[in-house]
Amino acid sequence: MPELKTEHSTSRLAAVLRELAVPLVSVAIAAIIGSIIMLIAGFDPLAAYAAMFKGAFGGGRQIGETMLRSTPLMFTGLAVAYGFRAGLFNIGAEGQLFMGGLSAAWLGIVLAGMPRPLNIILMLVAGAAIGAAWAFIPALLKAKVGAHEVITTMMFTYIGRYIVSWLVTGPLKAEGQIPQTNRLPVESTLPKMHEMLPFLTPSRVHLGFVVAIILAFFIWWVLKYTSLGYESRAVGYNPWASETGGISVSATTIKALCISGALAGLAGVTEVMGVHMRLFDQFSAGFGFTGIAVALLAKNNPIGVIAAAILFGGLSAGGGTMQLEADVPQKVILIIQALIIFLVAAEQIARWVIGWTDRRGATEHAG
């Protein structure tokens, strides 16, 4: 709605900057504390960060690798963020991701020989659907009997993971010693991005990255500009007022958790279709859980999720180079990630550093 922005554009810009300040300052403080830790441990933080940056953004291959690693985090970050906006903590994105991966590994073989665009669309849709289905039962339990989604989605994560474990060692196991499914035929995989952008050669980044970015903008639009998103946010903020305004809290809860599950399912699908081309036990490096951190850092803003996922993807991609070139253990990355999460959660620290000394909620008592 550009026609409305004119008279408020300056204050809007200020509001956006205000929103950004806490995450940015948190990241900066985390980097500083990280360097102090490295100094104490006898490493050179400047060399470490330089190597990390080089490993993450130093060239086409590195940038491609950062994009690759950020892709599943965008999906799971969006999943968790959407849940949070509706007042739901989908801690079980990992389980929905596993089911998405499973559907892709199975469907990709079934669809062998069909046209590639058709396969890609069908597999993405199916993965989103099964991710939503995996979230549906916890959602129903939440809406009808009030069972807390933190418990139920987590339990469903275990169920999902063990189902995958069983299938890859038994019914769906490929020939050979390794517990994994058959390799997907090429028509059931996502194209590599370097096929279109040679600059990224020889990184493994696939079309899933583009899908994730488009989806982030789509989810942002849904939340802000549709009745569905409006209802999700209303219920997240105040279920009683929503109910009074004729919104069905239980239906909205179910819809929101299913949307969240669908987004997490897509993380599994794109990992299988774009990276591994098959399914095995360890195909996710805890992306569902890191998604929680991404959503937190993004303050549940879908556009923010893009940036937060790229940051986390970059840290992960740059970690290897840091270990090789600066001789700093890759585990330092985990410390920095943990610090970022800590600082974002304890928002007051960043506010204090910025100098926003007004006490919490002060502006809300202007009477």
Partner: protein, 521 residues
Amino acid sequence: MAPPLIELREITKQFPGVLANDKVSLSLKSGEIVALLGENGAGKSTLMNVVYGLLSADGGEVLVEGEAVHIRSPRHAIDLGIGMVHQHFMLVAPLTVTENIVLGNEPTRGGVIDFKQAREDVREISHRYGLAVDPDATVRDLPVGMQQRVEILKALYRGARVLILDEPTAVLTPQEVRELFAVVRSLVSEGLAVVFITHKLEEVMSVADRVVVMRDGRVVGETRPSDTDTAGLAKMMVGREVVFRVEKSPSTCGDTILEIEDLKVLDERRLEAVKGVSFTVCAGEVVALAGVSGNGQTELIEAITGLRKVTGGSMRLKGVDITHTAAREAIAAGLSHVPEDRHRRGLVLEFDLMENTILGDHRQAPFAKHGVLDFKAITEVTRKRIADYDVRTPSEHIKASSLSGGNQQKLVLARELGRDPDLLIAAQPTRGLDVGAIEFVHNQILAERSNGKAVLLVSLELEEVQSLADRILIIFEGQIVKEFVAGEASDEELGYYMTGGGGDKLSSGSEEVMTDARAED
């Protein structure tokens, strides 16, 4: 002459979009009760929060006994002898009175809290200021008036010589209000100074030595109760003449809009809260449901508005059965609801004014087309509603939480009346509002009536019921025990039936019930 206990010089406080305090000066001497009077949002609480160190001023200075100080925190304010009792008490409910009072300043002996000393101290100050309270009672079990007394004792225990009371009577019964006033008078006779933040004119007249009136962040006048009357104060506060009694034409009862027949509803504990209620409301009529809180009004309203399941009986809106419809269908059928608790049910405080304006109509044209919100239409309508209903706000982009109470209620009214309903259900529509806002709300309700709308008003305020209603239904213990035509009954008569005085079958159990009702609060 000794300098004043506290002197404020040209205090200025700016919030985003609002100048909450504009060069406010005020002084306070030992032994006086100063009432700080103003509408909601006039800047009274902001000013006192500056004094208590909760906010820091953008300009001006605070002098304590003639010395300029910068009050950094409530702890600092307490050290300077300033105590504040907030509207919402800051007590730890499961702890005893003594534990609450000494919390933060516990007397210790060898690193262990000396409870014997603490109890002695509490007894001593409670005796000295005539604030009787049982030091061993658990705060949770005390009535609201007693809890407030504990808050005051807490401030005194910490050595307060200036006591700020923020809307202290909002939660009290008339009896408790009288007791509070006696306490306040005894405090000032001991040399304390008391600031009394309020928007209730009668209180100011009966307790204050001096009245400072604020409007739009500025001090607009200062007077003594003996030099003025409530009408004069209201004029200073609102800035124009205020009509206390609304004028209304005789009722023109048209078609029956709402028909309730033998309605039965359960409460949270699955006990029958509404026990077979029947009544009708016709077009162009205001029907008031009067009763003591907790006699089934809330459950009845929730049932009509589709928020609570009905276990028996039937309801019809314009002849259409709405007995088992959800809130959404009830809204579509032409019902609007101004809920009793506007923060919980009336508004989404984190939403901006536009988003709050469309709540309930967010799926329909003109606000939404095919599930997509049309912000051009939303902005246009919101601006119109803000103007029509006099919602004071810098823009439609701010959150509902930053509006004052009166403006929040106007926003709810704007939404609910803007929908052009056939039936308006208004529950406690003026609770916590100042005279200006009350007058506005009353006029809006009567405007609906003269437009041929049906209005069901639920109120605890007899004055409101008497001045607005065409018919008054008295609800007691989930039943309608008496019906009056407007002007037929005195306040005393209404009160008599509201407390179970009417009807032989009810009189036997009434004692018991009253005790129950009090325990629930």
